[in-house]
């Protein structure tokens, strides 16, 4: 094998994957994440970091259009995979890997892809991933000349400048409009939060959904699957809390539970629960986050773990009753809960609200 081929196969071994979940595609996402981990692939944090774009489930037209823009942001060599059923994940990723290693295909792709950002339409809500509209750059072709896009001083490259507004201390401060989601790791599928930021503090927020219906039929889940779903939410929250190690362990626990191995799953789950519960640093970071008078992010995290143990029909102490407190409030409640928080806290609060979407075992059994 010559040097070039060896380098290519090394590069493909280390690929980073941007996994996007269409509403209702969580089973496919679990399978895709698992298949990616089995290949030794790493989750990508942004399109710039990604070699492979994996779309899980069936995106609606609006989400599909956004995904095309995200696709434009992948630096390349790049590959795109569609996972339509959980069992198809391994095959889809294998094809993506082959495509990624195919030098001729990649060269052709580089030649034929758009060299300029797609034209903007004047509104602010078709931002790709998470950068609002500030980022549709493709590759670096020896310069940053997008002169053709210049619409005058008030909107360089078609992007309106930040406008001013009074901040919480009554001072004038720039306001930046940014769309969080729908393509953002550890973010609820299909959710878009249009926020106005001053610095990194959200001053107003509006939630909407893209990508199709959000009803996901969680009520009919078997206990191990329900526990797995909860543990996945825990993994995402831990990722956002900057603890990738614990998040990886949570994901492994999730996969064991999905395999139906309740005994091992229970053992791993209990280990995870005590590790997360013991961390004083985590408590310090998550305590007090969220709407006042409600359980904070740390409470919700521990409660989700307790409920997962409870799902398996084992004694978990008090998993709490009540269901989706924030889920019941709907997206508007979620949006208003994020106002006044800085970006990191917003991410944690949204992820914690997502933890409460499943009813508890008692509710399921009782109702």
């Amino acid at each position: 094998m010559d040097v070039r081929a060896r380098l290519t196969s090394a590069a493909v071994r280390a690929a980073h994957v941007l996994v996007v979940e269409a509403p209702g595609g969580w089973r496919e996402r679990f399978a895709a994440e698992r298949a990616a981990a089995a290949r030794g692939w790493t989750p990508a944090a942004s399109p710039a970091d990604a070699d492979v774009l994996v779309v899980c489930g069936a995106p609606g037209d609006d989400l599909a259009a956004l995904l095309d823009r995200v696709w434009d942001q992948l630096p390349g060599p790049r590959a795109r995979a569609q996972v339509r059923s959980p069992t198809g994940a391994g095959q889809a990723l294998a094809e993506a890997a082959a495509l990624l290693a195919d030098e001729r295909h990649q060269r052709r792709d580089a030649r034929e892809r758009r060299q300029e950002p797609a034209p903007l339409h004047g509104d602010m809500d078709h931002g790709g991933m998470d950068h609002g509209d500030t980022d549709h750059g493709d590759m670096d072709h020896g310069g940053t000349d997008h002169g053709g896009m210049d619409h005058g001083d008030m909107a360089p490259a078609g992007i309106p400048l930040a406008s001013g507004g009074p901040d919480r201390d009554g001072l004038e401060m720039d306001v930046l409009h940014l769309s969080l989601g729908p393509v953002l790791p550890s973010w609820p599928a299909g959710l878009v939060l249009d926020v106005a930021l001053q610095g990194d503090v959200v001053v107003s927020a509006e939630a909407r959904h893209v990508g199709g219906p959000t009803a996901e039929g969680h009520h009919g889940l078997e206990p191990p699957e329900r526990a797995a779903y909860r543990v996945d939410g825990v993994a995402r929250l831990l990722d956002l809390a900057g603890w990738p190690d614990a998040a990886s362990r949570a994901r492994r626990t999730r996969d064991v539970l999905l395999d139906g191995d309740s005994a091992t799953g229970h053992r791993l789950l209990v280990g995870l629960r005590s590790r997360v519960g013991r961390s004083r640093l985590l408590r310090w970071q998550l305590r007090g986050l969220g709407p006042p008078g409600r359980p904070d992010v740390h409470d919700r995290l521990l409660r989700a773990l307790a409920r997962a143990v409870d799902d398996l029909g084992r004694d978990a102490g008090d998993p709490g009753d009540g269901t989706s407190e924030d889920g019941g409030a709907g997206p508007d409640g979620l949006a208003s809960a994020t106002v006044g928080l800085e970006l990191a806290a917003v991410r944690l609060v949204v992820a914690a609200a997502d933890l409460d979407r499943l009813p508890t075992r008692r509710e399921v059994v009782g109702g």
Binding site: G40, A45, D130, H131, Q285, R347
Partner: protein, 311 residues
């Protein structure tokens, strides 16, 4: 005065290679440790840095609309440059690339350069998440820098010199890490923090799509990632003459001891990432000013009193 022979500048590339080798080792260790939690087999995870470098060398560079290209690239490269400049004052046994009378101040200057580097890397991309990452780093820097500066003054006070070799020589018999543990602890926190690593990596956090890394790809990203590991290694290397007795140790020659101590400390700093969640800058600022700063000032006071008492 401790004896250090200043080697010819032609040896500087060798020092740079040592730092890069250390960065490589740190990345490999992190690969193995993270492989253990994701369930990847050991062999695959130890060659992780090789694969990752191959991936990033193959990946295309990209830019963003209206990026501040020059400052963006300068910021990306400056972390590695700062790390390389840090180690020039670290004596490897009896050799050093530079033997400055104010070696400690030099190190401190370089760690302040990192402020600019990370912030520019966040600023240059003209992207909201990058910029938030850059500002997060500044907030974090406000929290760690003053405690770090005072932690850096404790060994010079005890040794009566700002020259790194003198400080190493002054630890004859008793390491400074032993009798000024608070300064050592705060120093280690500072190193992890200016390396944007582990608990102090919110500037590159997953919650803001990678923050300062969000828009970087290809070789630009590689440069920043290498710079991060290099800073961690340079920080560990500088701790050896400052707190860990320099090249002193039984049997082995002094230069070997410097390398061994550096490797062990760097490994410990790498491993921290697996153990703890991120510390958000808004909460860390409070801890930095209310807890760390008074503690380290007290430490300096104790050291100063002892130094005066000894005459």
């Amino acid at each position: 005065m401790a004896d250090v022979s200043v080697v010819s500048p032609a040896w500087a590339p060798a020092a740079a290679l040592l730092v890069l080798g250390g960065a490589w080792g740190a990345a490999a260790l992190d690969g193995v440790l993270s492989g253990r939690s994701t369930g990847l087999p050991g062999r695959a995870s130890s060659r992780r840095p090789v694969d990752e470098v191959a991936r990033l060398m193959r990946q295309r560079r990209r830019t963003t609309v209206r990026a501040d290209g020059l400052l963006w690239r300068v910021g990306g490269a400056a972390m590695l440059v700062a790390a390389l400049l840090m180690v020039v004052v670290v004596p490897l046994g009896s050799w050093a690339v530079a033997d400055l009378a104010v070696g400690v101040v030099w190190f401190n200057t370089m760690d302040v350069v990192v402020w600019a580097a990370v912030w520019l890397a966040g600023w240059g991309a003209n992207s909201a998440h990058s910029l938030v990452g850059g500002y997060r780093f500044l907030a974090q820097a406000l929290a760690y820098e003053l405690p770090l500066m005072f932690a850096l003054t404790a060994p010079p006070v005890a040794a009566g010199s700002l020259r790194v070799a003198d400080i190493a020589a002054a630890q004859d018999g008793l390491w400074f890490a032993v009798w000024m543990p608070v300064a050592f602890g705060v120093y280690c926190i500072g190193v992890v923090a200016f390396s944007v690593w582990g608990p102090f990596a919110p500037a590159a956090g997953a919650d803001i799509a990678g923050g300062v890394l969000a828009e970087l790809s290809g070789v630009d990203r590689l440069l920043v990632l290498v710079g991060r590991y290099a800073l961690l290694v340079a920080g560990a290397a500088f701790a050896v003459p400052m707190f860990l007795g320099g090249g002193s140790g039984p049997l082995l020659p002094a230069w070997t001891w410097v390398l061994v101590k550096t490797a062990l400390l760097a490994a410990a700093l790498v491993a921290v990432r697996r153990r703890v969640p991120a510390v958000r800058p808004d909460r860390f600022v409070e801890a930095g000013w209310v807890v760390l700063l008074p503690l380290v000032l007290l430490q300096v006071l104790v050291v100063a009193v002892i130094a005066v008492g000894r005459g």
